[in-house]
Subunit: 221 residues, 2 copies
DNA sequence: AAGTGGTCTAGACCACGTA
DNA sequence: ACGTGGTCTAGACCACTTC
């Protein structure tokens, strides 16, 4: 256990036990360095973790206090679908349903559109509608994506600077219901993800799952 | 712009432009301090941000390299429902539908169960099923929760150390459909949240939204 | 105006894990 | 074995913002 971990845990204990009540000021950095007999950098490292978690607010000149939280922040990690399925102990398989290069309009090069099905133990698990910007990722045109999904290639070869993920629910339309082996109007959990490299929009994915077999879990930071 | 921000942005640019290709080693800390004419601490601060983002991997003795990512991590922030609705420019209103103190079994104190409806411009937006552990939060029993939802009180008065959030889709049953003014079997986006203080399970919330009017958005870290 | 947190430096020692 | 990243220290200066 590192020194800053020890200090952070002691601070956490004080918050939990009410020694540092919500809304109350906590000691200044100098007092904490003396009390914990640690350097300022180490004390600040412990504090900054708590600030990230939203447990402590700090303002210059006004000191630090235990935060009155107004929102819950947590960390969401969406793994490769193959890993997700294998981690659950199921057999992963994959089928490419459609592949189409859209003709570019004017000076713009085209888009690569893919429809893929990911299965767990042979049962449909995720329907993936994928669009890849061939302008930015011309190498994608050479990939068959017949044996493995496009995300396997993307995530390994392409760095991304910004990812926007939206999670929504939708009712299955007739086509989707048939592909996913659910009834029409059954609920789906839909994850939509836009990936950017700088300003360039690399790829967009729409991932539909039967609600029965999938949910997204996050843990506090 | 802080020095460590400048250094991080230059590193990002090199990754994006392929000067530091995916999988390749990047210079050691000492070389970077010389090149950027900054102290080791500042260089490490820039690097550690990129490590958090999953863009760079570091291993002792083996050096640092641009990561081959295997998952996308992002930050999910779920605000108070009132703020969420007001931020969208709608009028927020609230109704307490049920309130019940469950008798404790044996030595355990009871649970407080609440059913609440949150509305945007008078239209149902979120149905909240809430359970509060009166063992740990006896003060909750004194709160009427008639004018404002329990989360307003919880989030302001109670610190939490661990929050597990699950996001799923479900079909509306008859009761829920009526309350939320949707058709039976319509898709709902359901957020379930368990909040802990140390080992104590403080509260559990099941938040159901008509899929049409709600989605969860996250951005990369 | 002054005290707080924020940033940066220079240097030391440590521990891990690869070469 | 030894070079790398990881941790910690002591101190300086800065900037914000409240007193």
């Amino acid at each position: 256990m590192k020194r800053h971990d020890e200090i952070r845990e002691e601070m956490l204990r004080r918050i939990n036990d009410g020694e540092w009540p919500v809304g109350a000021d906590i000691p200044h950095e100098f007092e904490l360095t003396e009390e914990f007999n640690a350097s300022r950098g180490t004390v600040r490292r412990a504090l900054s973790t708590l600030v990230e978690q939203g447990l402590i607010e700090r303002r210059k000149r006004a000191g630090s206090r235990v935060a009155r939280r107004t929102s819950q922040t947590s960390k969401l990690s969406i793994p490769l679908i193959r890993e997700e399925i294998e981690n659950r102990g199921h057999d992963y398989s994959y089928r490419l349903l459609e592949r189409e290069v859209m003709a570019g309009t004017g000076a713009r090069a085209g888009l690569l559109r893919l429809t893929c099905l990911h299965l767990a133990d042979g049962r449909p698990f995720q329907l993936e509608h994928r669009t890849i910007n061939l302008d930015v990722l011309p190498g994608a045109a050479d990939q068959p994506f017949r044996a493995a999904g496009p995300n396997e290639w993307l995530v390994r070869e392409v760095p991304a600077t910004r990812v926007i993920t939206r999670i929504s629910a939708a009712a299955a339309d007739a086509d989707t219901a048939e592909i996913l082996s659910v009834a029409e109007r059954d609920p789906l959990l839909v994850v939509t993800r836009d990936t950017f490299l700088g300003d360039a929009h690399l790829t967009e994915a729409r991932l539909s799952h039967p609600a029965r077999s999938y949910e997204v879990t996050t843990v506090s930071i």
